[in-house]
Subunit: 150 residues, 2 copies
């Protein structure tokens, strides 16, 4: 934390953070992903939940589909015509750690330590948390240093 300088890695070029951020780093994309994670899959539902402009929502959903993070799936409510909804692909589900990281930070620093939502193991019901680890033990953020892969 104090001064032991963390290597001053060249952070510019093709760092994965840059790639991920300009693929889906804008606020709406992340919030739309949150909806999909939480089981809200339909255009109007997402639009109402987020209070997002319909044109922007169309744009973001298309972007997520183009990226292969979400996919269009047909559904049909009984006595209604066939429509489309959006679901996460495997690639999209793999973004869960990003969501959890945002959530845990917000829980701690914006909601005094405990937020309104918790994640649980579907099978056991146990709480799930996100952890930085090395080998077999947890590491604190300030013990970590970035290095360049050769």
């Amino acid at each position: 934390m104090s001064h032991p300088e963390p290597l001053r890695t060249p952070p510019s070029e093709n760092c994965s953070i840059v790639g991920t951020v300009d693929a889906l780093g804008d606020s709406w994309s992340i919030l739309v992903l949150r909806e999909l994670f939480f089981g809200v899959h339909r255009f109007n539902d997402i639009q109402r939940d987020l209070d997002i402009s319909r044109s922007v929502l169309t744009n973001r959903l298309n972007r997520l589909v183009d990226l292969g993070v979400a996919k269009v799936v047909p559904y049909q409510e009984p006595g209604d015509r066939a429509r489309s909804e959006y679901r996460l692909t495997r690639k999209g589900v793999a973004l869960l750690p990003v969501m959890v990281a945002l959530m845990q930070w917000g829980d701690r620093y914006l909601n005094d330590g405990n937020g309104p939502v918790a994640l649980r193991d579907r099978a056991t019901g146990e709480a799930v948390r996100l952890e930085l680890r090395t080998g077999d033990r947890p590491v604190e953020p300030n013990e970590i240093v970035p290095t360049v892969n050769t």
Copy 2:
């Protein structure tokens, strides 16, 4: 992944993801944080690295300081006048999991499995990774379900 509906949690109100996202969810804030994590602390250095407009950079740095995520620290290069640079606070360092989550996803899905940067334990030099865990074992993203805290 397939159809076992994940509870359809009411995701609207005061969810921590929303809070975190509209505090610092825009792309530039995240990229500025990346610079700070990687040891780039000075205005001109960040501006050049990111190729960000100077006015926007000023705005984002001020926002991060207002949020308590970064702080202004004076420095003085020998034979030059005193100037200011930006460093992460504890609250800012706590955002490392967000950065790592973005990085790991990008490494896997945008860079074929291995990115240019790795994180290591400062003491041992061992690689650090981010993991979803419950109790004492890792969990896969698709085994996880959101629940409401009562």
